[in-house]
């Protein structure tokens, strides 16, 4: 871990924390303690600020007083310049935490005659260090010496001696140097400062300036080697580390509502995971911002804080537009639960956006962050940069357990599955809003393309924006096609009609049965009636016959009696026969 060269002397390289946001993370603890560090870069890249912040933070946060030797600006000017960053140099000087010394070199006043050395400078530095017990020294910028003295041989040997002197003093020194052509510094200071070299740059790409910091070398220590973007604002210097963020964030199983009840139902009935990232893609006018507004509204209702980064619309415009779908965001702004950060993507470089977003998030501490839309950032940088920036942003948010809601505008003719930024793989939940064009209408369809770690509906829903907010409706799915809007309504009407007519049919048939039954029953009654009539007639006939026979038999008997005959038996038999018939 430690370079062999250092090993015999010290086990571990001690570091002096700079107190500069993010820098200590990259350097693994700060600048090499007791050694000089060269900070170089072009004009206006922030060298002086870097150096001064190193001193001021050291004095205020680490109780390490510092000496600032300025070769360019007068102490009063410095004090004035840094007052705007909230550094009270005069106060620090009065408390003996800081010593400002302006080294003025005027070529016109100086005549060189014979041999000299820079012992006077050494004595000044030594005296300043001693007088406040300084642990840190800044020389800004020592190259001015080259314009003050003509004898470069003497100067170079004296510079070498100076760095040795600083090491002997045990101070952590920052030496600034102007960038030279083809070299880190104009006068080759890097020859003397071999321990740590930090390079600051201020690049302009497509009219957008980005400040970047790179650690060119750091002897005896591991360090981040990337170019790190940094920001100079009213709080001073902040560096945004890229690679120090690992993939070890906690994963919450807590759920947060989407703000649209039916959408909650679609993703397992509870909503998104807290701290997850949600991407909504869609072409323009599909309702991405409305979904974001719903989510924000629901969160504010729960009393959570939301930060809304808008790259397209102004704050008032969003509030007005969301009011049209029945969402009042203004009340949350007034309550301090919702904050808008509106900026044009081209206002500054992507890295600056990231850093400002970081700072805003750190300051506001939201539970939900909305970025609307991420695709607009493309205007400020290349696709790869956007992807890298977003992955860092999302990592950062995940680490903080902040739910990220990003919208992404896709162009109409591009494939659905291809988000403009290609970042869908970073996202946990990916919703797609798609325009479905048919029969002269454009309707919105909502798909869930993925939702990690939760069951979700695979069905498309129609996404309607109404006065009462966004609503999801079932689409008409049948015979291999999906119908939305008027077509869906028409189809539903047709369906209703069909059902109605079918019901009608059934009823008619039932009535038929009834009628038939009635008919048959009537026939049965009629038959029975005619049968009764016939039966009556027959019975009467039978009765008449019987009477006739009885009369006949009596007459026969009477006749027989009269005749005294013995053929009685045969008469009896014929009587029985007719009786039987009548019984039938």
């Amino acid at each position: 871990m430690v370079k062999p060269k250092v090993k015999p002397a010290i086990e571990v390289l001690l570091k002096s924390p700079t107190g500069i946001n993010g820098l200590d993370e990259i350097t693994g603890g700060g600048l090499p303690k007791g050694r000089p560090t060269l900070v170089c870069g072009g004009t206006g890249c922030g060298k002086t600020l870097f150096a001064m912040e190193f001193l001021v933070r050291g004095a205020m946060e680490y109780d390490e007083p510092g000496v600032y030797l300025s070769f360019e600006e007068k102490s009063e000017e410095l004090a004035k310049n840094f007052a705007s960053l909230g550094f009270d140099l005069n106060d620090l000087e009065a408390r003996k935490k800081l010593s400002l010394d302006y080294v003025h070199i005027e070529r016109r006043e100086i005549e060189e005659t014979g041999e000299y050395d820079l012992e006077g400078l050494f004595i000044r530095i030594g005296y300043a260090i001693e007088s406040i017990g300084a642990k840190r020294v800044v020389l800004d910028t020592i190259e001015t010496l080259f314009s003050g003295f003509t004898d470069e041989v003497i100067l170079r040997s004296e510079l070498k001696r100076l760095f040795g002197f600083l090491k002997d003093q045990g101070v952590t020194a920052v030496i600034t140097g102007e960038q030279g052509e083809g070299s880190l510094t104009r006068f080759g200071l890097e020859e003397y400062v071999a321990d740590c070299v930090i390079f600051l740059s201020h690049q302009v790409a497509e009219q957008i300036a980005t400040r970047r910091l790179r650690i060119v070398k750091y002897r005896g220590s591991v360090h981040g080697t990337n170019e790190y973007p940094f920001l100079i604002d009213e709080q001073g210097f902040s560096v945004m580390p890229i690679s120090s963020i690992g993939l070890d964030h906690a994963a919450s199983s807590e759920r947060v509502s989407t703000g649209i009840p039916r959408l909650d139902t679609m993703i397992g009935g509870k909503g998104y995971y807290k701290g997850s990232s949600i991407l909504v893609t869609g072409t323009s006018g599909t309702g991405k911002s409305s979904m974001a507004a719903h989510f924000v509204d629901a969160a504010c209702r729960r009393g959570e804080r939301c930060l809304y980064f808008a790259f397209e619309e102004s704050r008032n415009q969003i509030i007005r537009n969301m009011r049209s779908i029945g969402i009042d965001l203004e009340q949350w702004v007034k309550k301090g639960l919702l904050e808008f950060r509106n900026s044009r993507p081209s206002l500054y470089g992507l890295e600056m956006h990231l850093v400002t977003m970081h700072k805003a998030i750190e300051a506001f501490k939201p539970a939900i962050v909305v970025v609307d839309p991420i695709s607009n950032l493309m205007a400020a940088a290349s696709e790869m940069e956007v992807k890298s920036m977003l992955s860092r942003l999302i990592d950062f948010l995940k680490m903080k357990q902040i739910t990220a809601f990003c919208t992404d505008l896709t162009s109409t003719n591009s494939s659905v599955e291809c988000t403009a930024v290609g970042i869908s793989s970073l996202m946990d939940t990916w919703l797609l809003l798609k325009v479905m064009e048919e029969s002269g209408e454009r309707n919105r369809g909502l798909y869930i393309l993925k939702s990690r770690g939760m069951e979700h509906s695979n069905q498309v829903r129609e996404f309607c924006l109404t006065d009462n907010g966004a609503q999801l409706r079932d689409v008409y799915v049948g015979s291999g096609m999906v119908m939305t809007g008027a077509a869906r309504v028409a189809q539903e009407a047709r369906d209703r009609l069909e059902i109605l007519s079918r019901n009608h049919d059934v009823e008619r048939k039932q009535r038929d049965i009834e009628r038939k039954k009635a008919l048959i029953e009537a026939q049965i009654t009629a038959l029975r009636a005619s049968f009764e009539v016939e039966k009556d007639e027959l019975e009467q006939a039978i009765a008449r016959e019987k009477l006739h026979q009885e009369v006949l038999a009596e007459e026969t008997q009477a006749m027989a009696r009269n005749r005294k005959a013995d053929e009685l038996a045969s008469i009896k038999a014929s009587t029985a026969k007719s009786g039987k018939r009548g019984g039938k």
Binding site: E109, E112, D117, G126
Partner: protein
Amino acid sequence: MTGEATQKTPRKSKTENVEERYQLRLYVAGQTPKSITAFENLKRLCEEHLEGKYSIEVVDLLVNPQLARGDQILAIPTLVRKLPTPIKKIIGDLSNTERVLVGLDIKPLG
């Protein structure tokens, strides 16, 4: 030159020597060979060209390090011409007499 000097003289509160016009200060850091050479060179030069019209003050920064700031001393040895104004600085061991004279704005005698 003379006119400028006479203008300056009344403002100067030094009363003991009205004739003194060159106030010189030599900054050294200890008794190094360079410092000694410089002092010797200076003394010789003044005797030759400024007899009775100068004063030399030697400041040892090892003794009074805080004085380095006031005159913006970086190089050692440095000779500062405090008077007459403007302030002039000559660094080095003053071995090149001609340049010292030019630096001090002294016209060589003879």
